[in-house]
Symmetry: C2
Subunit: 229 residues, 2 copies
DNA sequence: ACAAAAGTGTTCCTAATACACCCATGA
DNA sequence: TCATGGGTGTATTAGGAACACTTTTGT
């Protein structure tokens, strides 16, 4: 290890890929840049990590400053650091992925003059993106699909109370495949990770029972796969 | 995003946790510091990322400079960045984990005057470690155990040719649990990820057939677990 | 009464587990 | 000939997948 200030050092940014479910589609939160480089292009929210700030705090701060969004489930994703990924100079980006319940938050322009728009995009219809942010989103999506299969992260995308059909639809939307209703319910109930509430959701047809997530059961329900596979 | 050089920026380091198997134990490669802070304490190899250098190249370069070790399987692990983790100032560390076949490499002092010793340590008998490197090693170990279950990384720890008992022992050592020999072999053979060679390993008893890893089969053999679990 | 989503069981099949003996070699 | 690790098959069990009809409500 050399001394701390001997050399020119790379800059460090934190970028955050926020997912939500809106009308049964998986969406990502993007901002449109108002300045060069990549003026008019879309990017994930993010910015530089301050000297006395933890990277995840930087991610959350930038998210709030740029889009007004707070209270998200956050997880570190990957650190992108190849020279040349930012035309302004050497920037290493620590990326995060976040999950939110779209009924609880409303992204909006916060007055940051460098941002023209803040919008949700369907992950299958992404706009032209700046820097390597398309790669970052792809990576986050891959990770989300992966984690959905062996952990309880999916519940972060749902309101506190939800129907089993909501939950099934979430899996089908994100994994992009359909699931048998009976088998799905059998499994979810067998895992014991949800509990019935006393409420039902009324619609124009038969009301559906509302369920809540049970944090404590989830950790044991998603047990490790033994040995291989 | 602010301008690139407006603020004091954190320094960026790359640290690398190198695992190997030696006489049926899982070992980590550590260096003993010769200077304050943490003089005499043990650390994982690593150092600062240069301005025009990809972080993984920095990790590999530092590994070579400090221990002489090259040709490792490398994977990014996690970025540790809380303020205060390095008493000298703000350092964000991108950590990597690496796997090597211990029969191929010999770590040694390379003349770096800041390092007193380079040694392998059993992961269950780690010495007193500097900075937050104990956390980094724990995290790497967790990841290694995890990846072993659903990917073919284990082969990176074995020589090109190995016996099925070697392979089984590797799983048992790392996962710290014993496996039924017949079931293990049945599964490995069913996955088709190894192939017989014509050679046998002679020992003091019945010679064992040597096998080789089949890269191409492995990707399909470790298929994704469906839905949950 | 009908349209629409909610809810519910059984059978089949595949994969995981448990388990014990013979074989080939060197000393 | 014996000590040591190498090598092999079967029966049982558990979990995943396929599959269709009845119920409840609003209009």
């Amino acid at each position: 290890m050399g001394k701390l200030t001997d050399y020119k050092q790379p800059s460090v940014a934190a970028d955050i890929v926020v997912f939500t479910i809106m009308n049964r589609r998986l969406n990502v939160l993007l901002i449109q840049r108002g300045k060069e480089p990549f003026a008019g292009f879309w990017c994930v929210p993010g910015g530089f990590v301050q000297i006395d700030e933890a990277p995840e705090d930087a991610a959350l701060r930038e998210l709030k400053e740029e889009t007004g969004v707070t209270d998200v489930y956050l997880e570190q994703l990957y650190t992108f650091g190849k020279p040349g990924r930012d035309p302004r100079g050497r920037v290493i980006s620590i990326s995060y992925f976040a999950l939110v319940d779209s009924t609880k938050i409303k992204p909006k322009l916060t007055g940051d003059e460098q941002i023209k728009k803040v919008e949700w995009f369907d992950v299958n219809e992404l706009p032209q993106m700046g820097f390597d942010h398309k790669d970052i989103v792809s990576y986050a999506l891959k990770r989300l699909r992966y984690k959905l299969e062996y952990s309880a992260v999916g519940f972060e995308l749902l309101p506190e109370k939800f129907t089993l059909t909501d939950l099934q639809s979430l899996y089908e939307t994100i994994l992009n495949e359909s699931v048998d209703k009976r088998n799905f319910r059998k499994k979810v109930m067998a895992m014991g990770i949800v509990e019935k509430t006393r409420e039902k959701r009324k619609g124009s047809h038969r009301p559906a029972m509302l369920y809540m997530f049970r944090q404590q059961k989830a950790s044991s329900a998603f047990k490790k796969v033994k040995f291989e596979r």
